[in-house]
């Protein structure tokens, strides 16, 4: 298989399989999780304004008071790489074209030099977060294979994408194919690992907020 055939495979068959598994997994798990339902809380509620699931969905996006100082790497690094992933994923013109082909909708992108910069910052932030995980004994102790693995499958698409654009290490064609392949691995892995938080995040925040809001606690 030459690199053009490799690229065509990942754009064709590979993508087909990956997106298939991704959708299957996402829909399955969402239905399963939300199909579990929620027991009615029989205790008398304490009504406090600002304490509800909806509030928590947004409030939890901001670090609680004092926490930013306590673990700056987790918060700042985490924020940077999540935002970076968002920008790179959704505002890079070729990616928009991809979404357009799938969903039929498109939106304006950003200049590629800017995307490039964001990619570098994202890569740096992810490395810092990883180093932090390795260096902090507690984090290291709590980390399982899944934590390292999900970091890697998230990191590789950014790295290969950036390297492809920068023409580093391998010819663009090969690097682009590797980039798409790494995205496919991510797609396949996402529904079945902790990366599924990309989908459950808001729901679980709401749930958490709702449970505690019942007690009048604005979490």
């Amino acid at each position: 298989m030459n690199e053009m055939q490799f690229l065509t495979w990942v754009r064709g068959t590979g993508l087909n399989i990956a997106l298939g598994i991704f959708l299957l997994g996402v829909i399955w798990r969402l239905i399963e999780i939300y199909g579990l339902g929620r027991k009615k809380d029989l205790s008398a509620p304490r009504n406090v304004s600002g304490a509800s699931g909806w509030n928590t969905m947004f409030r939890r996006s901001v670090p609680p008071e004092g926490m930013l100082k306590k673990s700056p790497v987790s918060y700042i690094g985490g924020y940077i790489f999540h935002l970076g992933l968002f920008v790179v994923l959704f505002l890079f013109a070729p990616h928009i074209k991809f979404f357009e082909s799938l969903l039929g909708i498109s939106w304006p992108g950003l200049p590629s030099q800017f995307i490039d910069l964001v990619a570098v910052v994202t890569i740096a932030a992810m490395v810092v977060v990883l180093v932090d995980r390795i260096n902090k004994p507690v984090k290291r102790y709590l980390s399982t294979f899944e934590d390292w693995f999900t970091w890697l499958v998230t990191f590789l698409p950014v790295l290969t994408g950036w390297m492809a654009v920068q023409h580093l290490l391998l010819p663009y064609t090969t690097m682009l194919a590797l980039h798409i392949l790494s995205v496919e691995i991510l797609l396949i892995v996402l529904p079945f690992t902790k990366l599924f938080h990309a989908f459950t995040l808001w729901g679980s925040r709401w749930y958490n907020g709702q449970v505690n809001g019942h007690k009048g606690v604005a979490v």
């Binding site: 008398a44 939890r60 926490m67 995040l201 679980s204």
Partner: protein, 322 residues
């Protein structure tokens, strides 16, 4: 140690995960020995520390003598039914006297219940719903027999959570009465002007928020209002309130001997909070926190007495007729 509940960006509630885990461990006979004993005593004797009704009665008698106030028991139709934790019966008898004074001043009717004086729910601590339900049912039966309007949970974190938030779900129906923490009741009295105090504490005081009361119970403002009513020099520790740090015995670490090392280690966080404000005394509203705090303070040779908020309030209530 600060519950993940407050910070987890994806909204994990670790407490419920641990509860599920305990459920299985306890049902399969793998709970810590110490806590098993406590459950056994609560279920068979009626109290985790083995306190029986006669001991309570003896305590009542002492308090009645000391304070010159009646301690009602099994008074049907009383507005409030007051619960105690074993800790209070044995270690802090002042609590009962404090309640008597406060209720007397507010002019409220209240009672103890002979079949349900113990508030501690060891079943919930060990993580066993069936046993927790059994213990809650005793209180529900007692409260309904006496037809009280409100059941007051003592200064005990787990007892409050078990009764206030878990109780109705454990028995499968809403309560016919309200459940309030003593601090909530005091807060209400204060708002209604039924809590009149005289004099002020002048030494430097700070308040430790019990997690079950504040972070998991939603009672945060009341204790501060109460503190300010009787203290001139009340200072807040950093992170006080919702984000307060644990006493070191949270999550059941106080209920098992194996947890000692962990408690002492976790107390370092508390120590740093205390070092930041250097109080003369530490006020709290949970008997469990109080014991763990005292243990920690002793270990680190910090000379800071720990007092219960209810008793401190009671000390400032003028003697009847005085």
């Amino acid at each position: 140690m600060r519950t993940l509940l407050a910070v987890c960006p994806v909204g994990n509630d670790i407490v419920y995960m641990v509860r599920k885990f305990r459920e299985g461990m306890s049902a399969s006979g793998n709970a810590p020995v110490g806590i098993k004993g406590a459950v056994n005593r609560t279920v068979t004797i009626g109290s985790p520390m083995g306190v029986k009704l006669p001991a309570v009665k003896a305590q009542m008698k002492h308090v009645e003598e000391d304070y010159g106030l009646p301690i009602p028991m099994d008074a049907e139709g009383a507005e409030y039914m007051v619960m105690l934790s074993s800790m209070e019966i044995i270690n802090f008898p002042e609590y009962l006297g404090a309640i008597a004074k406060i209720m007397n001043q507010a002019g409220k009717t209240w009672t103890l219940c002979s079949t349900a004086f113990e508030a501690t729910n060891a079943g919930m601590q060990i993580g066993n719903s069936d046993l927790a339900k059994l213990l809650v049912s005793r209180i529900v039966d007692g409260a309904e027999r006496l037809k009280v309007k409100t059941v007051i949970s003592p200064e005990c974190g787990h007892a409050y959570t078990a009764l206030r938030w878990e109780g109705a779900n454990l028995i499968g129906r809403p309560f016919t009465f309200q459940v309030k923490h003593i601090i909530e009741v005091l807060g209400e009295f204060q708002e209604q002007g039924l809590l009149k105090t005289e004099g002020f504490e002048t030494d430097r005081l700070t308040f430790h928020d019990p997690c079950q009361l504040a972070r998991r119970g939603g009672v945060i403002k009341q204790q501060r209002n109460l503190m300010n009513q009787v203290a001139k020099n009340f200072v807040e520790m950093p992170d006080a309130g919702f984000m307060n740090w644990c006493c070191g015995g949270g999550g059941g670490a106080s209920a098992i001997e194996e947890g000692e090392e962990l408690r002492i280690e976790a107390f370092k966080k508390k120590k740093s909070q205390l070092d930041a404000v250097k109080p003369d005394r530490l006020v709290t509203a949970c008997a469990n926190c109080r014991i763990v705090l005292e243990e920690g303070l002793e270990h680190y040779q910090m000379d800071i007495p720990v007092v219960g908020l209810t008793e401190m309030i009671a000390e400032h209530i003028p003697e009847k007729g005085a």
